[in-house]
């Protein structure tokens, strides 16, 4: 990948990933309010706000983060399956996105119930999922910064092939 495009892809990857983490944090605040508040008007406002954040911010950022992350990994020497930290990040992100897509329907149903039912106080919120999602995204962010060493078997083989090739090309 040419350096300019690589920088653009990396910038987009960081922006979407960190944006996703920030949006989940905002959602978490609303989720805590939804779980702890007993005020009906607050509940009728909070659940639709959670639904809007999930549908129009978190889901698009999550999908963009996964797609751009894959492009970024495949377009650089890091690869997608060569280093354990990249592979771990990829698997954690895929799992978080899958749970998010399932949870989206639940949040929409909660928003509808909060505005239409007589007792929004009985709704339970989605706190375990939002806390779990936040911790997973925090872990992927830490992995990106620390980049702990460790080649996978595939990465080791690729590195060896490159070494053999470069030593064969030498005069």
């Amino acid at each position: 990948m040419p350096p300019r495009i690589r920088k653009a892809v990396l910038t987009a990857h960081i922006a979407t990933s960190v944006g996703w983490l920030g949006a989940v944090l905002a959602y978490l605040v609303l989720d805590v309010t939804a779980t702890t508040s007993q005020d009906v008007q607050t509940l009728r406002a909070v659940y639709p706000a959670m639904d809007l954040i999930v549908r129009y911010v978190i889901v698009p950022l999550a999908l963009a983060s996964v797609l751009i992350g894959v492009v970024n990994a495949l377009g650089t020497p890091w690869g997608l399956f060569r280093h354990y930290w990249v592979l771990s990040k990829f698997l954690l992100t895929l799992a978080a996105t899958a749970v998010l897509l399932i949870e989206t329907q639940t949040v929409s149903a909660l928003a509808e119930q909060a505005t239409s039912s007589a007792g929004p106080r009985d709704l339970t919120g989605t706190l375990p999922h939002s806390v779990g999602g936040f911790l997973v995204l925090l872990t992927t962010t830490i992995l990106s910064v620390i980049k702990p060493r460790g080649l996978t078997r595939y990465g080791w083989r690729r590195q060896r092939e490159l070494k053999v090739r470069s030593s064969a090309a030498r005069p």
């Binding site: 039912s117 709704l123 339970t124 080649l151 078997r153």
Partner: protein, 71 residues
């Protein structure tokens, strides 16, 4: 924390941080599954909403009372 670089021909082993993280992750998953099975019971979208109650409660006369109470 990292696996040793190996130039002699054998593939590197699993780094310690991967082993520790995998064990911690597996333990966490087991705890969550046990909690869901033995403490919480039902898990799924329906658990977030109250029972099988109808979404709107109508007054006996067939018309719901005005929501806002204004007017």
């Amino acid at each position: 924390m990292a696996n040793r670089p190996n130039n002699l021909g054998s593939p590197p082993g699993l780094p310690r941080w991967v082993k520790v993280s995998a064990m911690a992750g597996a333990a966490l998953v087991l705890v969550v599954v046990a909690f869901l099975l033995f403490v919480e019971g039902d898990h799924g979208p329906s658990r977030h909403t109250p029972g099988d109650e109808p979404a709107e409660v109508e007054a006996p006369g067939g018309h719901a009372p005005p929501g806002g109470g204004h007017g």
